[in-house]
């Protein structure tokens, strides 16, 4: 058991989850306190001791399934190697008369009656007959899952399940919707069962470590923002909130003075409690600094996924900064601040940015030079020494003139100018990237390819207090 748990912890670490020594020891001690045969208890015990961040739970679940899946399966003898001469050949050409309709009927009944045991039985048969698993193939099981699901035809199953549950009643549109969601939840459970079953067999076939390696996926904070899927982005959303709050705090921070001036009135008043002896002098609170942030986002095609992320970030920031202005550009620039007003949800804001903002001037290919020039001409005079300008973009200019002098002017009238580039540093200045032209004018330039790097950028952010210091 000890060996399996250390292997499991190694796997978590390999997947990027930070598990400290102390936590590993805690985990072991906790496992001693529980009944080892109880899989749920084991899972929750390890989860509570090893995982300290909700974002890591997905990695935990995957690894746990792999490492602790060798629970004996009733009537699952066909899993053993060598005893399956009847495996379908590579292309899955069907042989024995397998009655898929009977299986579907069984599953339907199990789902309608919420009979988990029957469902599991059905899942085992389905994987036996439909997945066409081949021993020894180094795959993660997605293909087997796809194959099984295709044959099961979930859409059809959904329709039949809805019919079975309605029982010829006439339903209103509203009830129908609720029912459909209930059915979808049950089918999702079925899907997960199948996935787990396939994973169990893969582990039996190839061993834990090998399967874990194939299944390992980057943590949400390590996913490349340029290639993130919509689902990834949704998961990131939860992490963005705390980050923007942190950024707001960073930008507002000043050199800490002890306190403000002595507040004579409050000191006297407080001293009444101590018989007129001013034991505790009271000070005025220094006025908090209101950060002013302008965000310039490249939303051209090459930046599609990243710009969605930056706009998500903008949206989250809008709730923390009262003085946030956002601009979007492709080959010209337009202000989009109003699209992200209070109470607007992200979907509709995104829609308005893509449909209403006038960001295309000529051909819809990135033109940083023109965008920056337009920006400076239109809004440059409203920049103040308190404004922090953040530009997000890959600086890929389609070989047009960079006109980076304009950026210098912008930087000169702002408190600071920060550039966030979603490309790996090694690619900067290759091809049509004009990064180094622009970098010379920036207060700082950062590679922000992942959520982790964004976090790091915020962590390390120190900005000049005033413009005077910067220009000196």
């Amino acid at each position: 058991m000890l060996g399996v748990i250390t292997g499991f912890i190694d796997e978590l670490r390999a997947a990027g989850v930070p598990v400290s020594m102390v936590e590993a020891i805690d985990g072991m001690r906790a496992v001693e306190a529980i009944e080892i045969g109880d899989r749920v208890a084991l899972r929750e015990t390890l989860r509570a001791t090893l995982i300290k961040n909700q974002r890591h739970e997905r990695a935990f679940d995957t690894a746990f399934d792999v490492y602790f899946s060798t629970v004996p399966l009733p009537d699952s003898t066909p899993v053993e190697e060598g005893t399956r001469p009847d495996l379908p050949s590579a292309d899955g050409s069907d042989r024995a008369p397998f009655d898929i309709d009977a299986l579907l009927d069984d599953l339907l009944q199990a789902l309608a009656g919420l009979d988990e045991e029957a469902m599991r039985r059905g899942v085992r048969t389905a994987v036996d007959e439909l997945a066409g698993m081949e021993p020894g193939r180094p795959v993660g099981g997605t293909y087997y899952l796809y194959r099984t699901l295709r044959r099961l035809d979930l859409a059809d199953l959904e329709a039949r399940l809805i019919d079975a549950l309605t029982q010829d009643e006439e339903l209103s549109e509203f009830d129908r919707r609720l029912l459909r969601e209930e059915v979808e939840a049950r089918l999702e459970q079925l899907r997960q069962e199948i996935e787990e079953e396939i994973r169990r067999r893969l582990v039996a076939d190839r061993g834990r470590d090998a399967v874990a390696r194939t299944l390992r996926r980057p943590l949400i904070e390590d996913i490349d923002l340029m290639h993130a899927t919509t689902k990834d982005l949704q998961e990131m959303e939860a992490a963005i909130g705390p980050l923007t709050r942190k950024l707001a705090a960073r930008l507002a921070r000043r050199r800490r003075k002890r306190a403000g001036r002595l507040d004579f009135r409050r000191t006297m008043r407080k001293s009444l409690a101590t018989g007129g002896v001013p034991v505790e002098p009271q000070f005025r609170h220094p006025r908090p600094h209101r950060p002013e942030v302008w965000l310039l986002c490249d939303i051209s095609g090459s930046m599609a996924t990243f710009s969605r992320f930056t706009l998500q970030f903008t949206h989250a920031m809008a709730t923390h900064f009262s003085k946030l202005r956002s601009f979007a550009f492709v080959d010209t620039i337009d202000e989009v601040t109003d699209f992200f007003g209070a109470g607007v949800d992200f979907g509709s804001a995104l829609l308005r940015v893509t449909t209403e903002a006038e960001v295309v001037w000529l051909d819809g290919h990135s033109d940083y030079g023109n965008s920056l020039e337009t920006f400076n001409a239109r809004y440059g005079r409203q920049l103040t020494p308190r404004t922090t300008v953040i530009v997000t973009g890959d600086a890929r200019n389609n070989y047009r003139a960079p006109r980076d002098k304009v950026l210098g002017e912008i930087a000169a009238s702002a408190r600071a100018l920060v550039w966030l580039n979603p490309e790996p540093r090694a690619y900067w200045d290759t091809g049509d990237s004009a990064m180094s032209h622009y970098a010379t004018h920036c207060t700082s330039v950062h590679e922000v390819r992942t959520l982790r790097q964004l976090e790091q950028f915020i962590e390390e952010l120190t900005l000049p207090g005033t413009r005077a210091a910067q220009n000196a």
Partner: protein
């Protein structure tokens, strides 16, 4: 009360109308067995604070609550010297030797205990709830570390005050910022999410007496449906309970579109959210 197995924990919590899932009862069991604090995280209104209250009811221990907020400091969380009393003592006794007085005024008699110190100095074991710990600054978090790992407080003038009894500690966080590694390392981590429809239905049945099974199922399904929308603030469990109570008070036994449209404001607190949900769920959008 018997907390000797996860099942016993679950049964005990159920008896005070808190319905735990496997995860919750397992973590509570472990915390009790290993004497570790629990850090509970999750969206607002899923029963994080309620868990601590339920624990105090189950074990019959007093609940001491420290509500965190920005600007919370030692003087309000741990202890403070009662300087008024100290001053009086000095003024009342001018003849005495200063050394003696100094010895005297820095003794326990002049100490004002705040929740954290109170929890560990208590004669009877207590449940200590440190609520919304993510609201304090990172620097203040450090105050908690000594208590959480060693159950003791060091006071420079007095030395180390050790716990008379081991308190059961529950910390809650809404995850508005990342807590420090040091804090997390000392705790068992428990993420509570919105319950699935079935468990929510059970919660409703336990919390709203007189609710029919049919209505409870419907309320739970509507809540799930609304949570799947992209809203500013999804309805919490406490809000669905309120909604079920509202329906009961209006003696409604079947929810349809119109009733939902009329009572949505119980579930949702932002006008934009109400409009959105109304548009999605009912065919006749509300104004």
């Amino acid at each position: 009360m018997n907390l000797e197995s996860p099942q016993a924990v679950a049964a005990a919590l159920r008896s005070v109308d808190y319905l735990p899932d496997d995860r919750i009862s397992q973590v509570v069991f472990l915390a009790n067995r290993l004497d570790k604090p629990i850090l509970v995280e999750g969206p607002a209104g899923v029963g994080k604070t309620e868990l601590a209250k339920a624990l105090s009811r189950v074990t019959g221990k007093d609940l001491i609550r420290l509500q965190c907020y920005e600007g919370l400091d030692e003087a309000k969380a741990l202890y403070e010297w009662n300087y008024k009393k100290q001053l009086l003592r000095i003024q009342a006794d001018v003849d005495h030797d200063w050394e003696e007085i100094e010895q005297d005024i820095f003794s326990e008699d002049f100490l004002l205990t705040r929740p954290l110190l109170e929890a560990i100095r208590s004669e009877n074991p207590v449940v200590l709830l440190i609520d919304e710990v993510d609201r304090v600054e990172v620097e203040t978090e450090a105050l908690l570390l000594e208590i959480l790992s060693d159950f003791q407080v060091s006071i420079p003038e007095l030395g180390t005050m050790e716990a008379r009894t081991q308190p059961m500690v529950v910390l809650t966080s809404n995850n508005t910022r990342e807590l420090s590694e040091a804090l997390k390392r000392r705790c068992l981590f428990l993420h509570i999410d919105y319950p699935d429809a079935q468990r929510e239905q059970e919660i409703l049945a336990a919390r709203v007496p007189g609710l029919s099974e049919h209505l409870a199922a419907q309320v739970a399904r509507v809540a799930r449906s609304i949570r799947s929308l992209d809203l500013k603030k999804a309805p919490s469990v406490s809000e669905t309970i309120d909604w079920a109570r509202t329906l009961l008070a209006l003696s409604i036994d079947d929810v349809d579109e119109d009733i939902l449209g009329d009572t949505l404001h119980v579930l949702l607190k932002y006008q934009t959210d109400i409009e959105k949900a109304a548009k999605e769920l009912t065919s006749s959008p509300q104004a």
